[in-house]
Symmetry: C3
Subunit: 139 residues, 3 copies
């Protein structure tokens, strides 16, 4: 069994954003030389997500507005988590909706994706360096 590990670092200049990281994840897979197996890609921070959906900017705006409605940033005082001086209570909630991780099949050395599947990093508390982990196991 082969295994491969890599961290991807991001520093998103805004509080919230969605970033297509499929090219970096594919690069990791290439480096791993795994042909058949499973690839895990997860946010290493608890105010960020890794998820799979469509690379369409209108949809990303829809996601952002919807998450703001389900778990608004303001007023920050409504979150108990913020009473110790944080202002990212909403980000911990948004991340649960969008998810921490994806597991992707590796087949013939490729990410085994349907026609529109792309991997995104979802940032909900940016403006600092944060990491995504890619771990691949197989043969």
């Amino acid at each position: 069994m082969k295994s491969h590990r890599k961290e991807l670092w991001f520093n998103i200049p805004t509080r919230r954003a969605f970033l297509n990281i499929s090219p970096q994840v594919e690069e990791c897979l290439k480096e791993s030389e795994v042909k058949e197996g499973l690839l895990l890609c997860n946010a290493m921070h608890i105010t960020a997500s890794v998820f799979i959906n469509d690379d369409e900017s209108g949809l990303h705006q829809d996601y952002d507005e919807w998450l703001e409605k389900l778990a608004p940033h303001d007023p920050t005082s409504k979150y108990r988590h913020n009473r110790a001086g944080e202002d990212n209570g909403d980000a911990h909630l948004k991340r649960q909706i969008m998810g921490r991780e994806v597991v992707v099949a590796v087949t013939n050395g490729k990410l085994d994706f349907g026609p529109w599947e792309q991997i995104f990093y979802g940032e909900f508390d940016g403006r600092r360096k944060k990491r995504v982990l890619v771990k691949i196991i197989g043969e």
Copy 2:
């Protein structure tokens, strides 16, 4: 290490539905001859889900109403994603709540499930052919 891959195809006649796919997934596992390992089952389309819950029709109606409340289909014009001629903006949101994939332990050649666990395909934009991927690795 063994690996096995199979696509399951569905053509749901309605926009939305939940379909118990546990028998098909168990059949894939049997074909794989994997006794100990992990099984990934994911929607290959970004307006559908694979999730694990109870096979109870009342609950499925509850899910449907709840998802319609959290991410209503109408008015379709409220989703930026729909401005290019689509009408499935809501389906991309519903799928995030219900999830893209499940990972299931394989033990003694069986899906290692609790008493009520069943795998469902969740369709949020049906009336066309769509796919689920099953990938199994192990020994």
Copy 3:
């Protein structure tokens, strides 16, 4: 390829609670002697979650209030699932938001976590014995 399986049992005295199970999961990993691989940790019941977030009690109260707002327990009669005599319809919905499972990378014999990642059992219908499954594969 090595594989290891263990069930963790809980009997939460309240209807809802969040329990940090990272120490038990790390113990399973140690027992497995897997150095490189993947660890699956999932609720075996469909009214409970396993998820990764912060071990901060204010946040856990925020989660509880937020989930009650998104899927209130009362009135129990509003859920079709409850018409057969159950009162846990809301728990099946809350579990979908928080998720069934996590998959964690195993690197150098450790859970490959970011600085604040901790694994939680999320109970939404407690006051009885329920189980979590840990399955580890690798080398």
